[in-house]
């Protein structure tokens, strides 16, 4: 079971504000989903290695050569707010 407090805790970790209504719905939906998912805890997985990559692949590296990056003005053009050639954000301590 996931209660309101747990939903709010996880939402804080995820930097996600939820309305009061969303908190209620999520608590009940997440409980039902996790209830279904938890059936995997019944499996005997002693000594089974965790999958890290489904296809065998060893260090895939490319040559470490400098390449051109996107022009600054092109990147900044997609941002909601910019100033002096950088991304503009509200102060962390406002």
């Amino acid at each position: 079971m996931i209660d309101r407090e747990q939903v709010l805790h996880v939402a804080r970790l995820a930097r996600l504000r939820l309305s009061d209504e969303e908190v209620e719905t999520m608590a009940s939906e997440l409980s039902s989903i996790l209830g279904h998912i938890e059936t995997i805890s019944e499996l005997d997985l002693e000594g089974v290695p965790a999958t890290t990559h489904v296809v065998e692949v060893a260090n895939a590296l490319r040559a470490d050569e400098p390449r051109e990056s996107l022009p600054r003005d092109v990147v900044l053009a997609a941002a909601p707010a910019t100033q002096d050639g950088g991304f503009l954000v509200p102060s962390p301590q406002a």
């Binding site: 996600l16 999520m26 995997i40 089974v48 895939a60 962390p92």
Partner: protein, 474 residues
Amino acid sequence: MSDLIALSAAAAAAKLGAGEISASELFEAYRERAAADELNAFTWVAGAAPADGPAASTPLAGVPLAVKDLFCTEGVPSQAGSRILEGYRPPYTASVVKQLQAAGATLLAKTNQDEFAMGSSNENSAYGPVLNPWDRTRVPGGSSGGSAAAVAAGLAPWALGTDTGGSIRQPAALCGIVGLKPTYGSVSRYGMIAFASSLDQAGPFARDVTDTALLYRHMTGAADPCDSTSLGHPEAIALPTAERLDGIRLGVPEELSGEGIEEGVLARFRETLAKAEELGATVETCHLPHAPHALSAYYLLAPAEASSNLARYDGVRYGIRAEGAGDLVSMYTETRHDGFGAEVKRRILIGTYALSSGYYDAYYGTAQKVRTKISDDFKDVFGRFDFVVTPTTPTTAFELGAKTADPLSMYLNDFCTVPMSLAGIPAISIPCGLSDGLPVGFQLAGPAFSENRVLSAAYALEQAIGFDGSAPRA
């Protein structure tokens, strides 16, 4: 329907190459249909045929291509079905799209999809649901619902989609077309807006298996230096020609072909198995003992990866920003509140929960072990069988709104497709008939990098089935 629209993509490419038809006429024929679309299949349609289109000497010679919204396309809206990316026009193009453009494909349209590819009905798009061209009261499947509906309705000759747990195969099945989820890593993910990076894979949608093979041929090849998980393909992709299945051993996993699958779907599935036997294949029951746990593992792994991937949507570098927030953290939390839809929020919460302190081993760690067991199950089966075959989906296309109130029932749509995603193996869905007037999909999966054999067997079955998908293109 004009003669141009009736042509398969392979036939159109051949005629373009021979100078029998013109690329701008073909593009315009599709562009007009796409612009008049009533299915909400597109989020963007090209305004005109490209002035300097690809040369007739390129392999695809100017055949138009529809591309799922989540592939970045330079200067063209790429919003991944999300409000948080509203208005985003990327400064670069995804590697696979570039590769296809170099091969002679022209960008016709961007297709509607479930937000960040999370969904099985296309009802999670911030830009509205897509309608199934076989029955407009029903869903086209998801998450690549716009791509599937567009190809089925003849609004595009073929399309790109992505499959994380079934997002190509399930909509292909529900729309009566062919969809291939390739081996994980065979197509570059660079420029694909990420959902779950260890599972996401781009693949083709087409009217038939030959077109599917032709499109896939130009999607894979060499590994992409911009994607460290990309491997390319060890073989060139051939256009299939085999009409027999002599000596081919088909395994039918008991766990994915009985309980929970509706009778009309099972009937078409069994008829297709009988056709396979007539073509010379042997059909036997096999077992994937951990497959019933695949959905549980998937719905931990995919949300966990998504919660991390979607951390980048914070209102700083692209997309929307909530107005009026006082400090930085409020700006993040308000932007994400406003920008994400309900399903995305749900998965971010599940994923964050599964990765949070004290729960990581019990959830994420356990799911990664289940993933190993599922891969081992397939390895065992492929020791004795050439392919695993199942119905693609438990049901035919369901009505709009039928499952939106119950996320768990929506997740169960992916029951037959998720195991192959977890194992990273290629799987194709081909139409195998109708049930109550709605298409049924037949799924065929093989070992990693067996695409040529998968396509070849699917082609032989396609010839024997003789499915007529022309009704929704009329």
